[in-house]
Symmetry: C2
Subunit: 415 residues, 2 copies
């Protein structure tokens, strides 16, 4: 039997054991795992050095190597992440609904673990610990399939976690790492209906698209964010500048950063020239429509393709619109339903924008950069769902649960 | 462009219009649609006669023809179903959560329509109206793809509904019927990512499996039910008999009926011979393990394959187990996580069964036949989800919604 199938089967067998554990037992195990990561950080750093060495030989870019690199401080951060998961309320067993039926049946809807969760991800080895911690805390077994660039780090990390788990109530089999980093091992995971209950991809858009288009196991799609900020006619100019700059440059590489700025023509006439200068000072390349170029001769021309591109970089599309409808229409045409913002002093326009824009998170007078499990107060994040089923937007622990109806009777039969 | 793509595109364009309607506007439209069905029932019956005639020519079984047939009274029932949907609370706009963040951001999670829902179904034309009503009430556009056997009825019904909608606030394009009943039209729907937000299959297991295994659009899996009833050592014999007979024979053809009866050896010794006689009186064929055959010489032998079969018929597997663990294990091995029941006077055993059995609905001392949106008090049912994502168990109107986070600020930016 293949590695993937064998390990998914072991995870499935471990899931019912995990399901029965108390919050205390799970927390105890997570704390042991956190301690072990710190105690054995030297081993982890040594394994990580192999990944870095291989990466250098393969010509990996310095920025990717930096994301891959682990040191004492980063490992402490990762362990601290596990301890934060311990602090979070355990969603398993929560009562979501109770219904007393006329026939005397008492129906209770409670949260239960999903079962076995597959995570397909890239580079950063912190995801290994983070995803394991979130899945285990929510009572799920987890099958991790990380990328080849971090495989030495991932193997060592899971070895350390497994050793720590041996003395805890969580069975080691509840945490599985697929060591085969061939593309075929992902393809096999995607079809493991009956063994995996869900697959969550974390990574770039090609990884996510491969999972979405080829999985027969249910998927929670995450990631792609072509986010817009619309500066309404009535926008406060200072707020408009602060929010749009923040949405673009505070961390351009992430999914909740802004890719396109939509500007009402009247606002543009008064403030756009100055605003574009601010972007220029921040080294942001501007791709604008013809009207925009009237306010910044140095701007490039934006093509329809540009409007459909998630740059994740210091590049910004700018388009001038004549009214709110044009802005909403542009977002419907080019958005990815992730995070969209209106800056406006008009509560009427804000309400229309909030109602009519279809996205996981719609903002009025705040930066789209806040779409994040920590910023939303969930205390954790397994990803940001960009699909409409199951979970939408930042996903905390409850997104890793399913439900069960418990029906208690006294002999009721159906007439 | 193909019919499927064209109609899905029209539905997608109609969705935002529908999204903006008030509950009152949607209800008004549904009432007009109900009235039209009754006013034009003669036309519908005439179209239905074409389906019946074609079915007869093709040798369709009398029971299937009966399910397909429409008369005045059935059409009144279908119209009444629409009126019942009008009475249901509209989930759209419901506030699910509010969070006030330390930085002053106010975050509200509200219910929104999913968008465009594809329904792939078989035979019965009542599904056409029922699914349309539920989707439209919850603010979703819907693309229906029924089977060839009911195509004349379905076309006429949708014509009648469309004519009625013309004078209402719901755009006609929000309801689409795919008239091409070739298998290829289903296959095309399954890959319409970006146009369809979800596909819900309703029908037999081969239809559902085709959808699950080939869709790249997210799916809500419904249907397959291999349901068990476990008679514990302490079960009340009268209750055990009533519940197990009801679970099997009250309506064997549906997914929440029982396929396998598990019996504790001690209970079997005292009561199984008599109980099996009752099943025999109801024309139920028994397939038992060796121990069961000791109580009913006329019983056939059950194979492992039998335990994995959803008969939907007057056939029942019976297996004797030595303890609760064996019962739970059998259910884990053969169940489809639909509905499972323990009959027991021991609250300890009931608790363990409820906790450890992984199913959408777990029953203590009541028939599994209650797994149903109406019986659960939802007032409607678009299907029974047997997957763990998004919705599990009977799905009412809220299962046809997604969520949106509304984030209101006063200029907050991320540090």
């Amino acid at each position: 039997m293949s590695e993937v199938r064998t390990k998914a089967g072991l995870a499935q067998q471990a899931a019912p054991v995990l399901n029965k554990l108390t919050t205390e037992q799970k927390n105890q195990a997570l704390l042991s795992m956190a301690d072990a990561l710190i105690q054995r950080s030297a081993e982890i750093i040594q394994a990580n050095a192999e990944d870095l060495q291989r990466g250098k030989e393969q010509g990996t870019s310095p920025s990717l190597l930096d994301r891959l690199a682990l040191d004492e401080s980063r490992i402490q951060g990762i362990a601290e992440g596990l301890r934060q998961i311990v602090e979070l309320p355990d969603p398993v067993g929560d009562t979501l609904d109770t219904m007393d039926r006329p026939n005397g049946l008492s129906i209770t809807k409670i949260r239960v673990p999903i079962g076995v969760i597959g995570i397909v991800y890239e580079a950063r080895p912190n995801v290994t610990v983070d995803a394991a911690g979130l899945c285990l805390k929510s009572g799920n077994a987890v099958v991790l399939r990380g990328g080849s660039s971090a495989i030495s780090s991932n193997k060592k990390i899971v070895e350390v976690l497994h050793d720590a788990m041996a003395a805890t109530a969580i069975p080691k089999d509840a945490l599985q790492l697929i060591e085969d980093t061939d593309r075929a091992s992902v393809d096999e995971m995607l079809k493991l209906n009956g063994l995996l209950d869900v697959i969550i991809p974390r990574g770039g858009s090609s990884l996510i698209q491969n999972v979405v288009m080829n999985a027969t196991v249910p998927v929670i799609e995450t990631g792609a964010g072509i986010c817009h900020t619309y500066l309404d006619q009535s926008a406060d100019p200072v707020m408009a500048e602060q929010i749009s700059l923040n949405a673009k440059v505070q961390r351009p590489s992430v999914c909740n950063s802004m890719e396109t700025l939509l500007v009402h023509a009247d606002f543009a006439a008064q403030h756009l020239a100055g605003l574009l200068e601010k972007f220029r000072e921040q080294q942001v390349e501007i791709r604008g429509d013809e009207a925009t170029k009237g306010y910044a001769s140095w701007a490039l021309s934006a093509s329809p393709e540009d409007y459909a591109t998630e740059y994740n970089d210091y590049v910004l599309n700018v388009r001038i619109v004549n009214n709110l409808d044009e802005a909403i229409e542009h977002i419907a045409d080019y958005g990815t339903k992730h995070s969209e913002c209106i800056v406006s002093a008009s509560s009427e326009n804000a309400s229309r924008f909030i109602q009519e824009v279809d996205a996981a998170a719609v903002y009025h007078n705040a930066s789209t950069r806040f779409t994040d499990g920590f910023e939303f107060g969930f205390g954790a994040e397994i990803g940001i769902s960009t699909q409409k089923l199951h979970a939408r937007g930042p996903m905390g622990l409850p997104a890793l649960t399913s439900t069960k109806y418990i029906v208690s009777g006294s002999g009721q039969i159906r007439q």
